[in-house]
Amino acid sequence: MNPELQASAPPRSILTIPEYRGLLSWVSSVDHKQIGIMYLLGALFFFVFALTEALLIRAQLAVPENTLLSPELYNQIFTMHGTTMVFLVGMPLILGLSVYFTPLMIGARDMAFPRLNAFGFWVFLFGGFLLYFSFLAGSAPLAGWFAYAPLNEKAYLFNTGQDYWVIALLLTGAGTIATAINIIVTVFTLRAPGMTFQRLPLFVWMTMINAFLMLFAMPALNTALVMLFADRQLDALFFQTGQGGSALLWRHYFWFFGHPEVYILILPVFGIISEVIPVFSRKPIYGYGFLAGSTVAIAFLSFAVWAHHMFATGLGLPVYYVFAGASMLIAVPTGIKIFNWIATMWGGSIRFTTSMLFATAFLIQFTIGGLSGVAFAAVPIDWQLTDSYFVVAHFHYTLLGGMLFGIIAGIYYWYPKMTGRMLSEKWGRIHFWLMVVGFNGTFFVMHLMGLFGMPRRVFTYPADMPYLGSMNLLSSCSALVLVLSLLIFIGNLAVSLYRGEPAGDNPWEGWSLEWATASPPPPENFERVPRIRNRRPLWDRQHPDQPESPLEAGHGAGEVLS
C-alpha cells in the first residue's frame, strides 16, 4: 500500500469501512470477515452468560451446605454452564477465527461457499437463543452437558428443558458440519498460486484437519440426539433401561463425539500458538513437518480413545487396555508440539507483547492439563479420580488454561488486523497477570479437592469434611479475580475500537498473508496476492538479505518450485 496515502488518510478501522456500515450490512453479510467477527461477538455474548453461571456455581460452593441455590436451580446452572462454554463459546470462537483467517492466510477472496458460511453462523446463534429460551419455558436442561441416560429420559426429567437442549445442539451441530465442509473445500480449492499444502500456515493446516474432525464427530452427536429425541417424544426405547434399552449406548455414542470434540476445541488453538510464538520470537516455527504430522496423528487417535470416559462402567479389562493404550499414546504427539514450541522460543529474540504472554502461559498451563489427563489414562488412577474435582481441574486447565488463553493470545495478535486498531498493551498486561492468578487460584486447588474425596456435579458438600470448605472458599475468591480480569479484557476490546492506536498493515512484522493487506482488509481481501514461494511469504520482502528457502533449510532446498 502506498505509504504516503496511508499517512494522510483518516485512521482506517472496522468502524469506517463504508461496506461494513449499518446493521443491515452485517445481518445480510456473506463476507467471511463479517461472519467471523459475528461469531466472535456471539461467543462473547454467551460467554457473559456462562461466566455468570460460573460465578453462581462458585458462590454456592464457597461454603459447605450453602443454601444460596436450590439443588434444582444449581443443576440447571451447571448444565447450562458446561453446554454454553462448549457449544456457544468454545465452538464459535474456533469457527469465527477459522472462517476469518483461513481465506486471508491462503490468499483467497472469501470462503468457497459464502452463503453456507452465513448459514453456519445464524444457525449457531438461533440454536443458542433456543437453548436459553428454555429458562423461560419452565426449566433449563439439568442433566449435565453430557446428559447421561437414563437420567435424560422423560421419566426422570419430564420438563421440556432437555428437549430444548436436544434441538439447540442439533441446530448448532448442523452449522458446524456446514462450516467444516466449507473450510475443507476452501483450503483445497482456493489457495494462492504457489501455496502447496507443505507451505500452508500451521493455523490453516490445523484448522483444516480440525474440519475433518468436526465432519466425523458431529454426526455421532446427532445420532445420539435423535435417538434421545425419539425416546422423549415418541416413547422409543433406545435408552429406556427398564425395557431393554441401554444406558451405556448413550455414553458410547456421546463420547465418540465428545472426545474428538475436545480436540476440535484445541487444534485451532495449537494453530494460533504456532503462528504467535514464531512471530514474537523472530524465528520460524521449529519442526513444521512434525507439528503438521502430529496433528494428523492426534486427529486419528482422537477417535480411538472415547471409552476412557467410561473406565468405571464395568466394560471389562480387555476393553480398558485398548482405550488406555490409545489414550496414553495420544499424549505423545501433543508433547511433540509443546517441545517444538519451546524450541521455537529457544535462541530467539522474544518480544513479550500481551499476545506472547498468553501464549507462554498456555504452554505451562496446557502442560499441567495434559499431565493430569495422562494420569487419567492410567486406568486405576481413573478408578479413584474420575467424576471427582480432580477431573474438573483437568479439563479447566486444558480448556481454560489452554484453549481460552490460546484464543486470547490470538485475539491480541489479530485484533489489530480485524479492526485496524491496537489493543491497549498496558491493560493487556493487567488482564494477563490478573487472569493467571485468578485462573490458577480457582482451579489448581480443585486437584486437591478431588484428592480429598469431593465428587463433581454436586450442589453442596458436607460441613464436616475437613479442608473442603477452605479449598472451595479459596477457589471461589480466586474466581472473582478471574472474572475481573475478563471484564478488563472486554473493556479493552470495546474501548480500543475507538481509542486504540491505528494498527497499520503489519504491526507485528508477521510473515503470513493476512499481514500483506490493510487492517482491516478491504472487502475483496487483497488488491494483489503475492506469489507464494515458501512458508513465510512476507519474509523475503522484510529481509531481502536473508531470503527464505522454498521449503526450509535442509529440506528440499535448492529445488526451484514454480
Binding site: L329, I336, A343, T367, D387
Partner: protein, 310 residues
C-alpha cells in the same frame, strides 16, 4: 474421623491405587518441571534486548524430533504397563465367587443385601474388617457410582447391568464415600457410610439385622406403630415382621441403629428424625419422600416407635 481420600488408603486395593498414583505424580511433576523450567528459562534468557540481531532462523532438527518422540513414548509405555499391573491387582476376575454384598443404587439412597444371611439395610453398609469381599452393584433407576476412596475403586451402578468390584478394610472403622455419578437433584446427598467391624462383631450385626424388631414397649410407641401403619409410610418403607413391606424407600427395620438419616443428610437423633419425617423436602428437596402433616402428638408417638427400631 476418616477423610475419604484416595491418598489415605485403608485397604490393599486402595494402597495399590495410591502407589500407582504416587509414581505417576512423580513422573508428571518431573515432566512439568522440565517443561516449565524450559519455558521460563527461554522467557528470561531470550528476551529481546535493544540492539539484538536477528536470531538464527533455525527450522528444525530431525534427530531432536525423534528423541522427543521416543522418550515420551517410553514414558507412557512404562505408565501403561504399571497400570496394567495395578489393574490386575485391584480388579481380578471374580471367577466363580459369589458376591458377599448386593448393592442397588436408588435416587438418592443405597440399598444393601447380604445374600449369605438375607440381611437388608440401607446407606450404612457394614463389612467385616480384614477380609476381601466381592460386591455386586446395579441401579434401580439412573446411573450412580459407588465411591469409597479409602477402601475400593469406584464402580458405576448401571440400570440393567450388574457390575462387580472388590472391597476390603484393613482395620475396623467408619469409612465415608459418596455417589460419584450425577444422578439428579440430590446427587450431592447420596453419601455412603461403610462400617468395618471385627469379624465377630460383624456377625453379631448381621444376626441383629435379621432379627425382627421387638413389639413396641411403651404405649406411646404402640400408638406410633399404628401411626406408621395407617399413614402412607408403609407404601414405601419396609419394617420386617410388620404389614409394612414397601420396597420403594429404604428399609427401616433397624433405623434406630444407624448414625445418619437420608444417606448422610442429617445425624440420626429424635429431633432430626421428627424434622425429616415432616418436611423432608426442606432437607433434601427433590427427594422422593413428600412432606407430611402430623398433629404434634402423632408425631411424638411416631418418633417414639421409630427410635425403638434398633
Amino acid at each position: 474421623m476418616n477423610i475419604p481420600s484416595p491418598l489415605i488408603p485403608a485397604s490393599s486395593q486402595a494402597r495399590d491405587l495410591d502407589q500407582l498414583f504416587q509414581v505417576v505424580l512423580i513422573i508428571s511433576v518431573a515432566i512439568f518441571l522440565v517443561v516449565a523450567g524450559l519455558v521460563i528459562y527461554n522467557a528470561f534468557r531470550y528476551r529481546q534486548r535493544p540492539g539484538d540481531a536477528l536470531p538464527k532462523q533455525d527450522h528444525g532438527n530431525h534427530r531432536l524430533e525423534i528423541a522427543w518422540t521416543i522418550v515420551p513414548l517410553i514414558i507412557v509405555t512404562v505408565m501403561f504397563l504399571l497400570s496394567v499391573r495395578t489393574m490386575h491387582l485391584v480388579d481380578p476376575l471374580p471367577l466363580d465367587r459369589k458376591p458377599d454384598i448386593d448393592i442397588v443404587a436408588h435416587q438418592w439412597w443405597w440399598e444393601a443385601h447380604y445374600p449369605a444371611t438375607g440381611a437388608v439395610t440401607a446407606n450404612e453398609i457394614h463389612i467385616p474388617a480384614g477380609k476381601k469381599l466381592l460386591f455386586r452393584i446395579t441401579s434401580a433407576d439412573v446411573v450412580h457410582d459407588f465411591w469409597v476412596p479409602q477402601l475400593a475403586q469406584k464402580i458405576d451402578a448401571v440400570p440393567g447391568q450388574m457390575n462387580v468390584a472388590w472391597i476390603s478394610a484393613d482395620r475396623p472403622g467408619v469409612y465415608l464415600g459418596a455417589c460419584a455419578e450425577y444422578c439428579g437433584a440430590e446427587h450431592a446427598w447420596m453419601r455412603v457410610r461403610v462400617v468395618a467391624q471385627p469379624q465377630a462383631e460383624f456377625e453379631r450385626w448381621q444376626q441383629h439385622q435379621l432379627r425382627l424388631p421387638a413389639a413396641p414397649t411403651s404405649e406411646q410407641a404402640s400408638r406410633g406403630f399404628h401411626v406408621f401403619m395407617n399413614r402412607p409410610c408403609s407404601n414405601c418403607h419396609r419394617i420386617a415382621g410388620t404389614p409394612a413391606q414397601g420396597r420403594i424407600g429404604p428399609d427401616l427395620t433397624h433405623l434406630g441403629s444407624r448414625k445418619t438419616l437420608a444417606a448422610g443428610v442429617l445425624a440420626n437423633n429424635p429431633g432430626n428424625l421428627a424434622a425429616w419425617v415432616t418436611v423432608p423436602q426442606q432437607y433434601k428437596p427433590g427427594s422422593n419422600m413428600p412432606n407430611f402433616q402430623f398433629d404434634p402428638q402423632q408425631l411424638k408417638d411416631l418418633i417414639a416407635y421409630l427410635k425403638e427400631l434398633k
